[in-house]
């Protein structure tokens, strides 16, 4: 009972967080909190198997897939507050209230009083008791449910399946193509040199230098070129360095050079 009164407020707050969180990932996290608390409640009620399965299946796998999709939506995206269906909010509130009242009334009438028979049900250990019911009394329902799930999984695969129309390009194809291009047009088959091999700016916006000292514009990413952010100044770099050296020398001769 202590567990319930400790966890109940946490679960209610997390459930409210699920409703009112602006970011989808925060809502998903709140849902995960509700699920884990639910699992702990199962454990406290003498159902350790349900506890483990609840966390492995719901929190571990399903919630994770949820997050997977939500994360792809992007870190900045938050829910739009505008209604897409007119009157949706009103209907949702009314139906939610009706559902809540029904639930409170129904559950309140059945679950009052002391629970009996837990000891007998868990006599040989909780997993055995469950297994006996699932594979004995309810085996048909269990198998039908699994058939339904497999059908649903197959349906999802069929719907998501896409026929490949063009042949797949393997690494070997691409390599052969690069060599052909080199033979025909002389385009270099290897990767372009990395940008930023200046001593003063080892940054992606500074072109690499060829052996003769000319900057190789190809070494910079096309997207930086597109944005016009390429740093051109190799020439003024020399001046800066010369100035700097002169100042340093001046300072050293004045007796401030500590390290040399």
């Amino acid at each position: 009972m202590t567990t319930f009164w400790l966890l109940a407020p946490i679960m209610v707050i997390a459930a409210l967080g699920l409703l009112f969180a602006r970011k989808a990932v925060h809502a998903a996290l709140a849902l995960a909190v509700v699920m884990i608390s639910l699992a702990i409640l199962y454990a406290a009620q003498g159902a350790p198997f349900l506890f483990a399965v609840q966390i492995i299946v719901y929190t571990g796998a399903i919630m994770m897939l949820f997050l997977f999709v939500l994360m792809l939506v992007g870190v900045e995206s938050s829910e739009a507050v505008r209604e897409t269906i007119s009157g949706q909010r009103l209907f949702a509130t009314v139906i939610g209230l009706v559902f809540g009242i029904t639930l409170v009334l129904a559950v309140g009438q059945t679950v009052t009083g002391v629970v009996v028979g837990l000891g007998a049900a868990n006599e040989n250990g909780n997993p055995y008791g469950l297994a006996e019911l699932l594979f004995g009394k309810y085996v048909l329902a269990f198998e039908f449910t699994s058939a339904l799930l497999i059908t649903a999984a197959l349906g999802a695969m069929v719907l998501a399946h896409k026929e490949r129309l063009t042949p797949r390009h393997t690494q070997a194809d691409l390599a052969a193509r690069r060599m052909r291009e080199y033979a025909e047009t002389g385009r270099h088959p290897g990767p372009a040199p990395t940008p930023g091999v200046f001593a003063r700016h080892n940054a992606v916006d500074t072109p690499a230098l060829l052996p003769d000292g000319t900057p190789l514009e190809e070494s910079i990413s096309p997207s930086i070129v597109e944005r016009g952010q390429v740093r051109s100044g190799f020439d003024d770099d020399i001046d800066t360095v010369v100035d700097q050296l002169a100042t340093d020398e001046q300072r050293d001769s004045d007796g401030f050079g500590g390290e040399k």
């Binding site: 990932v25 966390i55 994770m64 909780n126 129309l165 514009e217 070129v225």
Partner: protein, 421 residues
């Protein structure tokens, strides 16, 4: 399961919990040093050997330095989740140790209190370990998302896909152990291995588990979530100082956790190895002796991890996923069905041990032979078969190409032409 579980005085439980925490921290420090020394040996280097005896205090110094570094919260981060993530990764790593058996029932020194060298046990202990490790993944995934960086996000996504896939294979490899032991409680599984360690009759499960555990802990050659050649640091790119240290700690504790689980399920847990266990009527299986065997066996698995890291290059992501879903999982499923049949036939006296041994040896030899058959090159059907011409307006209406019909699409440009500004 011993009656002591759940009925012990509070101070005993607290003592055991604190001891497990301390042991795991010290073991992590030791493992970092161990890994560096072993990898160094494999690369003909010496490794850390200056601070402390054999350089043992090196990781302590590194740890203190790491914790004292500047703690940066990046600007694009989602602050709450960013701070929550390393905590979420670390706590479950420790939680899993609540059900790992270190040894049998002992008397606590200087008292008369008897206790089991295991914090507690559940009828579903192994499933409990699976459950808490699956919560640990949240830490990694949320770290990737909350950092607000593409590299970290990709690392987090890879990690979630990887752990979910390999958790399936891992769970399936447990099933045959459950069938043999008739229990999911760790102490009972160790108890059931008093005659024969399960890696002998359940060798395929053992191999599948060993592969899956490397995938599960994001270690080389399956360390794609933090592949530095592709993703800088993966999910922890934007983390520094103590938060990064927590991820580091969680990775090493997880490594020990899966090793301890492998020890418990397949290598007889804390039981002494064959030969030593028989001395003096099983004297070395009593008292505090089993701690040596337990830590020795986990260290063997840690060595395996280091050996893999020192030997194998990182796998490509699609090959890695194909391996998990198209090889590991089907093989485990077939093996589980085989185990179920063998158990049933043996209990009905339709199969004796000798026939089973011969069949197993024959199967082992067959599998070994397949390693010597060179891989056949698959014929490139796309190039050989003349593709049918595709009429985009067959019958007067725009239609998509049918399978086998060729669209006139050219190869995608492998390397985009870079234009001078």
């Amino acid at each position: 399961m011993s009656d002591l579980f759940g009925n012990e005085p509070f101070w005993v439980i607290a003592l055991k919990a604190v001891l497990i925490f301390v042991v795991l921290l010290v073991y992590t420090l030791f493992n970092i040093w161990f890994e560096r020394r072993v990898v160094a040996k494999m690369q003909h280097r010496i490794g850390p050997n200056v601070h402390g005896p054999f350089g043992l205090l090196q990781s302590l110094a590194d740890g203190v330095k790491l914790a004292l570094k500047e703690d940066i919260v990046v600007k694009a981060a989602d602050k709450v989740v960013y701070i929550l993530a390393p905590i979420l990764a670390t706590i479950p790593a420790f939680l899993a140790w609540a059900v790992i058996p270190f040894g049998p029932e002992v008397t606590i020194p200087f008292t008369d209190t008897k206790t089991v060298l295991q914090l507690t046990d559940l009828p579903v202990a192994v499933l409990y370990v699976l459950a808490v490790t699956s919560i640990g993944v949240y830490g990694i995934v949320l770290a990737g998302w909350a950092s607000g960086s593409i590299y970290a996000l990709l690392g987090g996504l890879r990690s979630s896909a990887q752990v979910i896939s390999y958790e399936v294979a891992m769970g399936l490899s447990f099933v045959s152990v459950f069938m043999y032991a008739g229990s999911m409680s760790t102490s009972e599984i160790v108890e059931a291995q008093s005659d024969l360690w399960y890696f002998v009759p359940l060798f395929p499960s053992f191999v599948i588990y060993c592969i899956a555990m490397v995938g599960e802990t994001n270690r080389a050659p399956f360390d794609l979530p933090e592949a530095e050649g592709e993703l800088v640091g993966g999910f922890h790119t934007e983390y520094s100082s103590l938060k990064f240290a927590l991820f580091f700690l969680a990775e090493y504790v997880n490594m020990v956790t899966v090793s301890a689980l492998a020890t418990t399920l397949f290598l007889g847990g804390w039981r002494a190895p064959f030969g030593i266990g028989q001395i003096n009527d099983g004297y070395f299986n009593t008292g505090y002796w089993p701690l040596i065997w337990f830590f020795g066996k986990t260290l063997f698995f840690i060595f395996l991890f280091v050996w893999l890291r020192g030997t194998l290059p990182r796998m490509r992501y699609d090959q890695f996923m194909n391996f998990g879903w198209k090889i590991l999982i089907p093989v485990s499923l077939v093996w589980i069905i085989a185990v179920a049949f063998i158990r049933k036939l043996k209990s009905e006296d339709m199969l004796d041990q000798q026939t089973l041994t011969y069949v197993a040896i024959a199967a082992g030899v067959l599998v070994a032979i397949t390693f010597f058959i060179p891989e056949k090159k698959t014929p490139d059907s796309g190039d050989d078969a003349e593709p049918e011409e595709w009429d985009a307006f067959a019958g007067g209406y725009p239609v998509p190409p049918m399978p086998g019909q060729q669209t006139t699409e050219t190869l995608p440009d492998a390397r985009p032409e870079r234009t001078a500004p």
